[in-house]
């Protein structure tokens, strides 16, 4: 599979490396030339020597998208640090370049859920964190036998009002 990843931050670069290791063809697009260094981390050889591609530019520039190979991409991942950028460029990949599989990283749960309803495939790390934290806290609350008192409450704690 040929995968284009826009945004080579922590998320984008880790995903890109993992896909490359799985044997896929991977092309990264980032406006910051320095972000290239992050792609090399943990690789025995450099990103390019390992078979990866890197293009400097943004997901709104037709030339940069073309250089990154979006026209023949099987999958497109929008993983920049901007929610709105990810929402817009993933729609461009879908509607203009007809990429079959498009997914956008969106931190804001409200925007993520609305665009998901509109047919855009979204991943919301914030939603995932909220759900996991909720589950953890609920589980902890269950262990206190539901008496609601802090730390099992034997009444001997240093309560300034007590």
């Amino acid at each position: 599979m040929f995968i284009v990843v826009v945004g080579a931050g922590r998320v984008g670069s880790s995903l890109a490396r993992a896909m490359l290791r799985d044997g896929h063809e991977v092309s990264c697009l980032d406006e910051d030339p320095e972000s290239h260094a992050r792609l090399d981390v943990g690789l025995e050889r450099s990103w390019e020597d390992s078979g990866g591609q890197f293009t400097v530019g943004t997901g709104l520039e037709v030339d940069a998208l073309a250089a990154a190979g979006v026209e023949r991409a099987d999958a497109f991942v929008a993983a920049t640090d901007g929610d709105n950028t990810n929402i817009i460029i993933s729609q461009i990949a879908k509607r203009r370049f007809n990429v079959p599989m498009v997914v956008a990283r969106i931190l804001d749960p409200l925007r993520a859920s609305w665009y998901e309803e509109q047919g855009l495939h979204t991943i919301c790390p914030t939603r995932i964190a909220i759900d996991m934290l909720e589950a953890e806290v609920r589980q902890a609350a269950g262990k206190t036998d539901g008496d609601g008192s802090p730390r099992g409450g034997d009444g001997s704690s240093a309560d300034p009002e007590g």
Partner: protein, 233 residues
């Protein structure tokens, strides 16, 4: 324009602030939304409760501003992605009747169109158009483009070598899908009749179907070469 509208203006930069003030003066109800705290505090000193602090690409900020009852949403931030997103949700999620978006980088115009964010306004494009108008050698000037209605109005200056200079309008076999609607001569405009003789220096106005532009350019030969050669063959 209705007597009084509820208008949400996103981005209280120079454009948004002035726009907000003008709309208030005209008697409209206005809410400006600004994401930069310092800028918000500055604008708030003048516009008071008409400006709210927040990032309008967060949906709850738009809802707090009452987007569901807005007649018009105008997105004029300095960020094209933000302007596109805000107008897209205004139109498709909150069913706002009218939106206007600012295009900062004219190369992004294609994406505004792709996402159905229209109309959009680009200061850069407006200035480029003015330059075209001030420098007629540039050839053909677009006075009006209505892509949805499939209609254009263009203006062209006839050079000394134009193959139509000295010819009667009635004798011209204009390209199909075009119509000569006006001639500007020595600062005055008139509607040409069949007996009107075109002169070098005339500016002609024509209405045309999209795609006829190149034919028309050749026909009137703005650079005085293509047209002359074509007509002598």
């Amino acid at each position: 324009m209705p007597e009084s509208m509820y208008v949400i203006v996103v981005g209280a930069g120079k454009v948004g602030w002035n726009l907000g003030r003008e709309l208030l003066d005209k008697g409209h109800e206005v809410t400006l939304i600004e994401a930069d705290r310092d800028r918000y505090l500055t604008v708030e000193q003048e516009l008071e409760h008409n400006v709210q602090y927040g990032d309008a690409s967060e949906l709850w900020v738009l809802e707090r501003a009452g987007i569901s009852r807005a007649d018009l949403v105008i997105a004029v931030t300095g960020d094209d992605e933000d302007n596109m997103l805000i107008c897209q949700v205004a139109k498709e999620k909150y069913l706002v009747d009218r939106i206007i978006a600012r295009v900062n980088n004219p190369r992004n115009r294609e994406w505004f169109d792709l996402l159905g964010v229209r109309p959009h306004v680009s200061a850069t494009d407006l200035i480029l158009r003015l330059i075209e108008h001030e420098v007629p050698e540039y050839g053909l000037i677009h006075l009006l483009d209505l892509p949805e209605e499939r209609l254009e109005i263009i203006e062209m200056l006839l050079s000394d070598e134009s193959p139509v200079a000295g010819r009667r309008v009635g004798d011209l076999d204009l390209p199909e899908g075009s119509l000569l609607i006006s001639v500007l001569r020595e600062g005055r405009g008139f509607v040409p009749g069949p007996d009107t003789v075109l002169e070098p220096g005339d500016e002609i106005l024509a209405v045309l179907d999209p795609g006829v532009e190149e034919d028309l350019k050749r026909f009137f030969g703005p650079d005085g070469t293509q047209g002359a050669i074509a007509s002598s063959q």
